[in-house]
Symmetry: C2
Subunit: 230 residues, 2 copies
Amino acid sequence: MEIKVLQNILEANDQAAAEIRGRLAAESVTAVNLISAPGAGKTSLLERVIPCLGACLRVAVLEGDIATTRDAERIDRLGVPVVQLLTGGGCHLEAALVGKGLAELPLEKLDLVFIENVGNIACPAEFDLGEAAKIGILSVTEGSDKPAKYPLLFHEVAALILNKVDLLPYTDFDLDLFDRDFRALNSQAPVFPVSCRTGEGIAHFARWLEARVGDAAKTVGGPGLVVGRW
Amino acid sequence: MEIKVLQNILEANDQAAAEIRGRLAAESVTAVNLISAPGAGKTSLLERVIPCLGACLRVAVLEGDIATTRDAERIDRLGVPVVQLLTGGGCHLEAALVGKGLAELPLEKLDLVFIENVGNIACPAEFDLGEAAKIGILSVTEGSDKPAKYPLLFHEVAALILNKVDLLPYTDFDLDLFDRDFRALNSQAPVFPVSCRTGEGIAHFARWLEARVGDAAKTVGGPGLVVGRW
């Protein structure tokens, strides 16, 4: 009984996600779903990468949190449209709430929407939000064993940001172990070592992201090269 | 409909937790439920604090994970009984699984059972495991804004470990902001600044924990001074 209902929740979510994917494709908007543990640096990454993206790319953010509007206030200071999604206790975003958030954005004037999920590397990976790709963030202070211990997210990501590399000298993070465990789950996704504190590595990730959104995004007249999953 | 079923899940969990609480009281065993984000240092804290506890205290660990037995292997090296609880995808421990784990332990020969939850600061706080207390761990590398953003856990904890203080000089962690936000949610719980890497602060937490388990634990003939919630 419980399993059946949980399946129904996932089915309803998948349906809402499919609708979102259709809306985004119709508007040539690429959405990425940012997932990490609390404090791994989702908002900090956005604060760094958004100013580093090509000026022709029009960006907005859906900011998911259990409580407070603190992250949305940080994004607002970047001067991009931001909508706060409050789950009110929920440990992950679901497509229905993301759909409501998208309705608040001028999709026809956007190329890229970042969906910042609730800080959690267990549940959010299970819920399709209609995004083109999930991007994971692991900070080195969390330890190199996290891919093996939370396999679904690391299996699902189209790219992995390895954040806080400025703290590598002060931690026991084992890059070889991390790489071995991560590659056992995901042979394709690039890994971007960055420090959102110093800015190291951000430009590399920004260039990759721009290429995925497509340099033919509708700001230059055509649809995005890559809309849908990649 | 969905809400009703989720309530039923919580009710079933509460019933299983109440049974566990009864079993533990009957055996004079104190259980603590360790909750933190992934990589905040739950296993590292156990590796540090267990050898630091009074030799007369008999300790065991229930090790909760989504996947792998890596943490249980680390605990096993301490020479204390350990049972791995694998949720197989589940983002938190529930009382039914904890009950099965406890059945594998010689409760009559134990004083203290650590239940290490899945790394997640959203969902685990919602599920009573029959513990005497929840103990939270926040690492300074996660940022000082976490209490306000994940309020339920920080409201629930009987003590908070502030881990990785050796990294404070390299982070932007704002102790004043953290203290203000945490105290708005929880006026009682002591905060123990520690470094599981250097061992700093561990003894202080160990002494506090021993006092809560009770120096009249059954190793010296009587029931624990504090069994049940504190």
